[in-house]
Amino acid sequence: MQLRLEHVTKRFRETVAVADVSVTMENGVYGLLGVNGAGKTTLMRMLCTLAVPTEGRITCDGEDIFEMDMRYRKILGYLPQDFGFYPDLCAEDYLMYVASIKGLRPAAAKKRVEELLHRVGLYSVRRRKMKKLSGGMKRRAGIAQAMLNDPKILVLDEPTAGLDPNERVRFRNLISELSQERIVLLSTHIVSDVSYIAKRLFLMKDGRIVHQGSMEEILEHTPVRAWLCTVSKERTNACLKKWKVANIRAGSGGNELRVLSDLPPMEGAAEAELTLEDVFLYYFGEKAGDDDALL
């Protein structure tokens, strides 16, 4: 299975949401990293046939996904960022309904729903109304609905947004388990979500893929180094203005800064191993601090 985007652009009147994106994906987990407003959701909506590219084309094994129509949607699973459901249906009925519109026959749907309810840990609350589930449970119901048709292409848009750390780890493990024999594209602005599980990363900024590769390749090719240096509390503000600081740790002898720079920022600075968070900060600058980007 190969999913290919060729010079894909999406414009909304004067605004270019996605600009000339060309990527190829084969089985495995792909991470789409970018700050809010980078164009990740628009790109994913095009991949899910919810939006039509203004230019370029998206193909699945060489065939245009919009021409494939139902055949493409048959192998697609999608968990939208703004995942909505029918609040008055119970979790089981919700999944049974989605199974029906995904074309599963009732007997197969029942079996599959039961299996997925167990897998995502919702079996015990299957008769509870969707609106009464916790945020984490709703997200798990979301991943379950995306998996109902055993999709070959699984698109997850910000699947961990709003989840607590425990739920996020659980979610990550679940995605990792599901990633066999399929393409999983995971969009997020939370670096740790993808750093563990993605085989390849796409860094997206202002509608463009600015960098792509495996985590090692990205770390290797990012033209910056990380340095640890300790400065007095009085000098911290001046340092923040002068360098890109990825982290500040307060200590009794002053603040330990993690500075991103080609050269040692000061005498005594010790080089540290570059992380994906550093790369994220390097590419996305101040915007990377929005929301919980570096969590």
Binding site: R45, C48, T49, L50, A51, V52, D69, M70, R73, K74, L76, Y78, P80, D82, F83, G84, F85, Y86, P87, D88, L89, D93, M96, Y97, V98, S100, I101, K102, G103, Q145, A146, N149
Partner: protein, 409 residues
């Protein structure tokens, strides 16, 4: 798929409240129909009594006049009335005495009303007209109906119709079989009186329910999952539409059936074979019976409800807003009422073809709006059924096509 669409609709708290409200309003409407004006019985002491047992007494009294309304029978009514108005009780200033006198008239009240219509002007009604009649006047009862129309067409309505249209109306009047057959018809009368109310209530309440079927995917933000599913742009959309149509149809016949059974059960179902001209349609040029008018009302109400609810679903699918969709039936039902105050002939013809007319068939059969279609002259009933039957069929694929496109940006 269809089963879960039903579950989605019926599991919504708002929809459950709406359906409960529909049930309550049905009960209230039935109460008014069964206990409303004309259902009381005045006993020999002049006391007005209400209730099913008194409706039965009233029925027994009126059935004394059952049968063909011949000249002799009409003359007998005029004679009896003359005797009543000559009685001291009738002329007394005491209300109880007057009520006692009224109790002597209640057996022939239906026939009295017909006589007053027959001997009055075409567009007026004088309740006391019978007071001035003699038994010999009874011979003019049936000819007067045609004479009044002819006079009206030659004077007031002189420029409103073409000669051909005038001939059409007169011909229809002349075709009416006489003498009328009279029997107790209060059940039908009340059913027709409150029928439009229950049909309008049904459309307005169901409009609330169906408005959410298509817009709900967007308001619940469930549209992305819906439209990316295998059947999301085809069968799943059709299932939504059928859920709306089947639920509306099933509830319409349930509500209308319950209403009919309650009213006719309480007030009696006699009179189905009476001409509508005996009461609700004295001036109507539709020569049909109460039973036929009931069928017209039932199927007209059904078609009107279906059309307005399909329109509501179309607006819902198009605007993605249940709030805007809910207003569609309101506008279609209430706007014509405001516009009808303007006495513009062409507007009256136009208003006669709006879908709200299907919800008030007992009024439609009484309107004198004439249309020439394919060389034939007809009233508004025939084109209403043809027009909204065709439009409803057209709306079915349109709603689906519109919604299929809604989910793609």
């Amino acid at each position: 798929m269809l089963y879960y669409e039903f579950r989605k609709i019926l599991s919504k708290t708002g929809n459950r409240i709406a359906l409960l409200a529909l049930l309550v309003l049905l009960g209230v409407t039935c109460y008014f129909a069964v206990n409303g004006y004309g259902t009381s019985y005045t006993d020999e002491q002049g006391v007005s009594r209400q209730g099913i047992s008194y409706v039965r007494k009233l029925r027994e009294a009126r059935l004394a006049w059952e049968g063909p309304l011949t000249e002799e029978k009409l003359a007998a009514v005029i004679r009896k009335h003359a005797a009543v108005i000559a009685a001291p009780e009738y002329n007394s200033r005491d209300v109880t005495e007057q009520n006692i006198a009224y109790s002597w008239t209640q057996d022939y009240q239906d026939i009295r009303q017909m006589i007053c219509r027959a001997f009055g002007e075409f567009r007026s009604y004088d309740y006391y007209k019978i007071d001035s009649l003699s038994p010999e006047d009874a011979a003019d009862f049936y000819p007067n109906r045609i004479r009044a129309l002819r006079t009206w067409l030659d004077t007031e309505a002189k420029d409103m119709y073409t000669e051909e249209e005038k001939d059409f109306l007169l011909e229809r009047y002349e075709q009416l079989e006489t003498p009328f057959y009279y029997t107790w018809y209060l059940g039908w009368d009340k059913l027709f009186e409150y029928g439009p109310t229950i049909q309008m209530i049904f459309v307005l309440v169901m409009g609330f329910v169906t408005a959410g079927i298509f817009a709900g995917e967007f308001s619940n933000r469930a549209d992305a999952v819906f439209f990316t599913s295998y059947h999301g742009r085809k069968k799943a959309v059709t299932a939504k539409l059928w859920a709306g149509v089947l639920l509306s149809a099933a509830l319409y016949w349930t509500v209308w059936g319950l209403y009919s059974v309650t009213v006719l059960g309480a007030l009696g179902a006699d009179g189905a074979s009476c001409q509508i001209q005996v009461h609700v349609g004295w001036k109507s040029f539709y020569n049909i019976t109460y039973g036929q008018l009931y069928l017209l009302m039932s199927f007209g109400g059904f078609l009107g409800s279906m059309f307005l609810l399909l329109l509501n679903m179309l607006v819902s699918a198009w605007t993605r807003s249940a709030v805007i969709a809910v207003t569609a039936p309101f506008i279609m039902i209430f706007l014509p009422s405001f516009l009808s105050n303007l006495s513009v002939p062409w507007l009256s013809k136009l208003l006669g073809l709006l879908p709200d007319q299907l919800l008030q068939m007992q009024t439609s059969v009484n309107y004198f709006n004439l249309y020439r279609i394919g060389g034939r002259i007809m009233g508004e009933v025939e084109p209403l059924f043809a027009l909204y039957g065709a439009l409803s069929l057209l709306l079915l694929p349109t709603v689906c096509a519109l919604y299929r496109r809604a989910g793609r940006g």
